[in-house]
Symmetry: D2
Subunit: 133 residues, 4 copies
């Protein structure tokens, strides 16, 4: 599957007293890109939660912080998804500074498809599995 | 009703690139104090959401920012609740710096009791109304 | 001055356990719109912090929450700024749901120009005052 | 070095529309525990930033999400630090539900000591290195 890209802008809300983006907040940027990738395929998470009744839960995350992002920076947030068994999707993700394509953050994120009521692991919806191939 | 107090500590997550607490994040401190006031009366918001099936929704907020809170500051977050009709509670709230009782923020917050499913306004649960008198 | 508009999208990070946007997080959307209004006039807050050495500090906020925003909602965040004395700018702001232009939130936000080192109030930079007229 | 523990409470601000703590927000809990561990040794990050002029920057994070934390949960957030070369500290961390000691999250976090102005890696302050042995 090709790499998907989504822009983000750094606002005051994202920074901390060190003058750079707070380390937890990069995970918000990463999630936006995954959500927009799903949307680009025509999947709405609200619709999936109703029918077939599934949500995506993050199983594990690993993040390398290389260089800090700063207020006003324009970022490019990528995700390259691949099916990981019949229940999970693994995403290789990067956050780049748009101005010079400098790589700021890289991450691996594994999400599981779960039943929206019981939070039990369940198979990825068939149309999504098809899209992942 | 007497004023209720709850402590808070300023962490990196609360600050922004200006080196002070980000203006939206004071509202998180204010909400923690309201939640702990409810808990101090024996009310669990999770239990209320199940039976009688109500949530609290903020109707309006007005906040005066007097002096900034900084990393590591210990804060005192107060709330003085009063019944505001049969559906709403209004809270007069303040955030003080613990070290010198300097007043940093003052706020008025009005919350409405709403049906957990429809979000329609509904009467405050009787035990809570009794506690507010 | 004309009303300025900026889009925002509701992501998981913005919602809370009630399934709607957490009340403090609307203030992040409001701030993004003010920042983008400044940027649209050619002002960078990072540049202003260096020369002439000023920041903008929120003095007070008043927010009316009319209807909740939900996951995936596209929002329009407006701001109509006006000079408020020689030090402050007051913004009338609204958050609309893009799909139907339903008004979800309205707000008044007053910000003061302050010295970036001392946080003391200081006059608005002349080019910004000119732009506000 | 012994494991350090710090309590946290889950508030509305921490949850998302799935009714559980948003995955990025566990990193805030983890950071609070590391900060309180430093404070328990007598180190203030504000003081260290002035003299000898150092900050701590997160280099990498790896997080396993086992079970979700929910609104009102009381959590125990642990950290077991160890020196990792002369510049870094690595923390093994866990988040437990206080009620039943169920393990919800485990994490490995590596932080580097950096110059507060240049963000260049620099040796851990001697008193901190001594405390880590």
């Amino acid at each position: 599957m090709r790499e998907f890209s989504w822009p983000a802008r750094v606002y005051w809300e994202d920074t901390d007293g060190g003058g750079i983006v707070y380390y937890a907040n990069y995970l918000r940027f990463l999630e936006r890109s995954r959500t927009e990738w799903l949307r680009s395929l025509g999947f709405s998470q609200q619709a999936l939660a109703r029918e077939p009744g599934v949500l995506f839960a993050v199983v594990n995350v690993s993040v390398q912080y290389r260089r800090p992002a700063r207020l006003d920076d324009e970022l490019i947030v990528t995700c390259a998804p691949r099916a990981d068994g019949s229940v999970c999707i693994s995403f290789a993700q990067r956050i780049l500074r748009a101005a010079d394509a400098e790589s700021l953050v890289s991450a691996e994120v594994k999400v599981a498809c779960v039943d929206a009521r019981t939070f039990r692991p369940t198979k990825l919806p068939e149309p999504l599995r098809a899209a992942l191939q």
